[in-house]
Amino acid sequence: MTPEILTLCVAAALLELDTTYAFQLTFSRGIIAAPILSLITGDIMTGIQIGVFTELLFADINPLGGILPPSAVVCSAVSLALHMLGLELYFAFFCGVAGAILFSLAEKIMRKNRFKWLIFWEQQITRHPQMVNRTVVLALATSFLMNFFLISIFIWLCGQFMLWLLPYIPMKAHFACKFAYMAVPWIGLATLVPAFRLKTR
């Protein structure tokens, strides 16, 4: 873990709060989060590409009702961090997508557990109304810490594993992953056409 990657994890954990917990100003969108995170890695073009690919790939899943979409911030952060560690972009992106899916599963578990904890805080707020601000700050702080913990652990584990595996990966697997990576914008762009289907009238 280099200082740059640690900074990247902190920035990603902060941006991830924008998804649900604070402000919701769309800082957590792929096309915004990835270029911001790439300022830390210093490779802006890679940041744009990862951002565009992430947003296009996750464009068909929206946070409607109880649906928890995979995190674009986590995907961008993991991809950029692993690429910075020396992994090819197509492998890094594959790990990023896997990380985003795992993160949304972890988030679901966290939400279920936090619900029990929130009942206690709701009782406290009912008794002492001034507790609401403290509860919100505490909820934000714990979410930030959990985000940071999960993102950094995943980057560290995935980085160690992939760097160990890299010399053993045959050239054919490189080609396969590269082709799949090349397909990502087209998968996403083709989804946008039916996304605008005129069913609203």
């Binding site: 919701q24 100003l25 769309t26 969108r29 096309i31 915004i32 270029p35 300022l39 490779d43 802006i44 073009m45 744009i48 590409q49 951002g51 565009v52 947003e55 790939l57 996750f58 464009a59 068909d60 929206n62 946070p63 594959f94 997508v97 939400r111 619900f115 805080w121 709701e122 707020i125 109304p129 609401v132 601000n133 919100v136 909820a139 054919k172 697997a173 080609f175 396969a176 992953c177 082709f179 799949a180 990576y181 090349m182 397909a183 914008p185 087209w186 998968i187 996403g188 762009l189 083709a190 989804t191 946008l192 056409v193 039916p194 996304a195 605008f196 289907r197 005129l198 609203t200 009238r201």
Partner: protein, 251 residues
């Protein structure tokens, strides 16, 4: 799960404190109502805030227990019905239309500035200004609409009544969404064509690389339409592509 109950309480807290400044004992029972289940679209929630604030004022002004119960029942039904309606409109407008629309806008800006994000081998470096342009434009357009709706929602819903559905009927949401989707559809098709041009423009002859790229574009555009019909998320299509390509390479 109570979804956004804590958020609602946090937003309404300054108003509730001011309203019940001379009746601090009422606060626990008032907060209990706000801490009940609440779930809507976060931007459109401002319509709920205004309407609930107005109704809360009526509750605070009640003089008899019967009147109080009646107003509290009204408050609960406003909260429930308005949160469902605003969620439905907000999901279609913001997540279903404006988000992909601003994405397309950003993609067009980047391609027009010469930032070819399709090129995966040696993407040419770009300046920070160019990188910020498209992302910034998407950010500002989305948030300008969101802030306008938040501001107007709060203002209108506080002054409007039940007959105008707390101000919701002042906007023609369906027409707005319909028009935005029409623009989006036009931009999405344009983006595919523009993208294909950028993806293939550097090839002078039809060689194996050109054919490979053309096949990838055609195959995945076609298969995306199929998976969309089958409600299979894109990410699983990508993960399957990695898996299938690996098998094909080893055959």
């Amino acid at each position: 799960m109570k979804f956004q109950n804590l958020g609602l309480t946090f937003v309404m807290m300054p108003f509730i404190k001011e309203l019940y400044r001379n009746d601090q004992d009422a606060l626990p029972s008032v907060l209990q109502r706000y801490l009940e289940n609440f779930n809507t679209q976060p931007i459109m929630a401002s319509f709920c805030f205004g309407a609930l604030a107005k109704q809360e004022e009526l509750i605070a002004q009640t003089v008899s227990l019967t009147q109080f119960k009646e107003k509290v029942n009204d408050w609960n039904s406003i909260k429930k019905s308005l949160s469902i309606t605003t969620a439905s409109i907000g999901d279609r407008l913001f997540w279903g239309t404006l988000k992909p629309l601003t994405l397309l806008m950003a993609l067009f800006i980047w391609l027009m500035l010469g930032v070819n994000f399709f090129e995966i081998d040696f993407p040419a470096q770009t300046t920070l200004l160019y990188a910020a342009c498209a992302g910034g434009a998407a950010f500002f357009v989305f948030n300008a609409v969101a802030l306008f709706v938040k501001w107007q929602g709060l203002k209108i819903s506080y002054s409007a009544d039940e007959r105008s559905c707390f101000g919701l009927t002042r906007f023609d949401w369906n027409k707005t969404i319909y028009n935005a989707k029409r623009i989006g559809l036009f931009l999405a098709i344009g983006m595919i064509l523009f993208g294909i041009y950028h993806y293939l423009k550097d090839f002078e002859d039809i060689d194996v690389h050109f054919v490979t790229r053309a096949v990838i574009v055609l195959f995945f555009v076609m298969i995306s339409f199929v998976t969309r019909k089958l409600r299979i998320p894109n990410m699983y299509l990508y993960l399957s592509a990695v898996f299938v390509f690996n098998i094909v390479c080893y055959l």
